[in-house]
Symmetry: C2
Subunit: 172 residues, 2 copies
DNA sequence: AAGTGTATTGTTATACTATATCAATCAGCA
DNA sequence: TGCTGATTGATATAGTATAACAATACACTT
């Protein structure tokens, strides 16, 4: 599973715009399947479809964008709780992350492993990259320890311009 | 002004619960006044009142909580744009910070100075402390530099339990 | 003091994000 | 089969934020 998790989006960097994204999606779904099996929980069709929609691009996606694309076969649109429940499940099992500064969600780049979540967000192409930098984590832990603060959760989101976008004119 | 900014809430730590909070408020208003004068913008009565409400505690406050307390003298409640405009102004001039993970706002602990914003949030007493740790900033910059990412903004919010709360039973 | 242009505030409507609640259905198992 | 708990459906509503345009206040000139 570790192989599967790292075959697609590599943690710590932005994929080339022309990478094989179908593989990112396939890998994510496969990893999710394994993670759920390992944790003894069910990756239902509904949850799988939501995860697939989250992974349709590397851009954070909002709950209502998912909702708009989540028809029940006969074109009937789902209701908000449907999508939020699926998102809650995926969050709880580490398959997606919430981007707080955007009220949106991205697929987790290395599900099934313990890691702090640090996200870089390109303000040009809109894509997100999950990084996993030990130095940042160590620095945060050190700062917390100094004032006797016991960390429970970290929200680290960095906005800026990714390398690919800097290498070309600003987005239209 | 630097003295005023550091007299109240010290950056980098949680105040003792029984600190002289009236002074925090007074200092914040005074600093704001000076910052606005220096920047050639007007700290109107409306904006001053919103800032005061933000500073009524060290807990992040939501826009609608402010709204509920913002009467126009005759008890008439203001409308949302009124408070959001004031908040936008205060954000733009570095007098408050937005807490993304809470959709809420806190007063800036050292307005008028350039700094990255790193916030610790106690899940027990609900208070926030703005820290300004160079190690975290350096680590983030290093990680970004490695993948050619140009930083524009950082959102760093750490949830956990503050020292004061750890020193006593969990909050009722 | 009156006039003028800009900034600020008021007002109404509406968009966007998220959850509570209860009913219906489904999956796994005694 | 029938029970039990998990999942989904459906409706209503809470919570967060902005668009658009009118009215007012302020600073500055004449």
């Amino acid at each position: 599973m570790k192989r599967a998790a790292t075959r697609g989006t590599r943690k710590g960097s932005f994929d080339r715009p022309q990478h094989d994204h179908a593989r990112c999606i396939a890998d994510a779904l496969q990893s999710a399947s394994m993670v759920c099996a390992a944790q003894g929980v069910r990756l239902t069709e509904q949850r799988r479809r939501v995860l697939e929609l989250v992974w349709q691009s590397h851009r954070p996606i909002g709950a209502y964008e998912i909702l708009d694309q989540l028809t029940d076969g006969s074109g009937r649109r789902a209701a908000p709780p449907t999508v939020y429940r699926a998102l809650d499940f995926l969050l709880a099992h580490g398959l997606i992350h919430r981007v707080e500064s955007r009220n949106a969600f991205i697929g987790c780049s290395h599900p099934g492993t313990e890691h702090v979540v640090e996200i870089m967000l390109c303000t040009d192409c809109g894509r997100a990259a999950e990084i996993d930098d030990q130095r940042i984590d160590r620095a945060v832990r050190a700062a917390a320890a100094e004032i006797g603060f016991r960390i429970e959760r970290q929200t680290i989101e960095i906005d800026g311009r990714c390398g690919h976008c800097q290498a070309r004119p600003a987005h239209a």
